[in-house]
Amino acid sequence: MAVKIILPASPAQKLSSAPISSELEVRIRKRFPHPEGTFNLNVHFRALAGFTILFGASGAGKTTLLDCIAGLTNPDEGRVAIAGEDLYDSEKRRNVAAWKRRIGYVCQDLALFPHLSAEENVGYGLRALAPQERQRRSREILNTFRIDHLRARRPSQISGGERQRVALARTLATQPLALLLDEPLAALDLPTKSSLVRDLRKWNQDHRVPILFVTHNQDEVFALGDEVIILDAGRIIAQGQPHEVMRAPRLETVAQLSGFENIFDASVLALHEDRGTMTCHLRSGTVELETPLVRAEVGSHLKVGVRAGDLLLATESPRGLSARNVLPGTIRRLVQRDVIVSALVDCGGSEFDVHLTLAARDALQLAPGNKVWVVVKTHSCHLMRA
């Protein structure tokens, strides 16, 4: 009836003898209907052994991309290959079924089997092994992920962080040729997160396989990334090492997706490399902002994005503040949206949108025409390519 998959005795050893071959190549085009018209996924990249971060706002196509690699959905055309072997190739009309691909996939909702204990979940992918060997391997990985004490419990009886560990252990136990992790750390508190990252890193040292790690959290990019790929609306807009890609000016489309209410055209006035900042002049008026330093030349044009919720408003000139930018201005309009008040403040010709609570508006007795000060922290300024 059913065909069993045969796991090589120890793929880890096999891979370490030929480390170059454990490369994941992905070239995918896929169009599919979407609430706002047709979505076009069109990417091409290679991922070597180690962590590659897929970074992008929600709706950038990250999960669809992973599904295509895992074989859970079909691309329109392209090629997916692991270690030189085709898993999908539209030209050769080759399409290996998901269950034969040996690609580990931990999806966002974890999908632990509710009717199986933690140990049975972890052993689920090992059914080709003899029972003793399967138990040995499950126990080993349960130990590595420090969840040995949970082995008899059902998923409904363990905490969120532990479930995340079980899901990871279940996938890693099968010794996949590549690993796809769709926001596996989302919804975890910081200590849980960093200990899980440590365990994952440790596992990765012993098993050198490509790991695609999806996140929209910047901190995770720096904590994990050997390489980061930035995805926006189905396309790769930047790829490289985290400190290069993430610190460089980004395209404004990314900013708009992540919701910057204030976007200004600016030009660079001066670089302060010793302080890690630079001064930018907002070209709509006279305002000068101190912003984080990016790779840019004096005189070059950029866009500066600031979230309305990151701005402070003061009715008297504030003193003794750590924030570098305190801009005098006048309230032009106050607009109430649900429980948020949006104050539009004119500062030397540039208009800032500042979000306040109703209580703040009433306590400060804000009204159009009032003189106020807008406070902008340096690191609330996000720089983008013009």
Binding site: W99, Y105, A111, G125
Partner: protein
């Protein structure tokens, strides 16, 4: 109280619902996961016995089992007698009659298994059939029991199909509902009352099991998509 008819009916219902587990699971599997464009036609055909008068169903089964049809002739050449007016014929008629009562709960419970579990199983190296056996079936226990119980109860109370296909042969095809009819015809109301009450109580208990099970045992989520090929 005609215990012969009672036990014959219970035997018939048990055989039919057991066979429907075997037949119904593959059909429900196909109905749940097939992406065939005209699947709805099969769905409609399976549901037909719900709305069709039992006499119509019984009539066609009788014709199909009779010595003029290929099936009837084949059976006759095999066994030397026709299927019509036998217990075996009754089983076949009842299988069709109760098919939707097994298949629909099966398909509903298969479809309620979260598709992300099926995707996870595939990425852990399990074929669609292995996934079905190790994930879908265990998580569909309530649906399987529901289908079994409903088809049992439905077969227990059938009348029209039995009369058309089986006739009224004591010990062979006379079921409990036909016995009630006979007793009423013979103006034996107290006998009919006793038998009818027994059928009512049994049916109520069986349905209570079904609803109790779905009330307390189910953790269902909507929609399922088969990720496999």
């Amino acid at each position: 109280m005609n215990w012969e008819a009672f036990w014959l009916t219970v035997r018939l219902a048990a055989i039919v619902s057991a066979l429907l587990i075997v037949i119904g699971i593959p059909i429900a599997y196909w109905l749940t996961y097939s992406r065939w464009r005209f699947k709805f036609l099969v769905e409609a055909a399976v549901a037909l016995p719900i709305v069709l008068p039992p006499t119509v169903l019984g009539f066609y089964v009788l014709v199909a089992l009779g010595s003029r049809s290929p099936i009837g002739r084949w059976w006759e050449s095999l066994t030397g007698h026709t299927l019509a007016f036998t217990f075996e014929g009754l089983v076949i008629g009842s299988l069709l009659y109760s098919l939707p009562f097994a298949v629909q709960p099966f398909a509903a419970s298969f479809g309620a298994v979260d598709s992300s579990l099926l995707r996870a199983s595939a990425s852990l190296g399990h074929s669609p059939l292995q996934t079905f056996r190790r994930i879908v079936l265990p998580l569909s226990k309530a649906g399987l029991v529901t289908g079994f119980t409903l088809s049992f109860a439905h077969t227990l109370g059938e009348f029209g199909v039995v009369l058309m296909v089986g006739g009224n042969i004591p010990g062979v095809t006379r079921t409990i509902s036909i016995d009630i009819y006979d007793q009423v015809q013979a103006a034996n109301y107290s006998g009919a009352n006793l038998t009818a009450l027994l059928l009512l109580v049994i049916s109520f208990l069986l349905l209570s099991v079904v609803f109790g099970l779905n009330r307390f045992g189910a953790n269902r989520r909507p929609s399922a998509v088969a990720p496999w090929r």
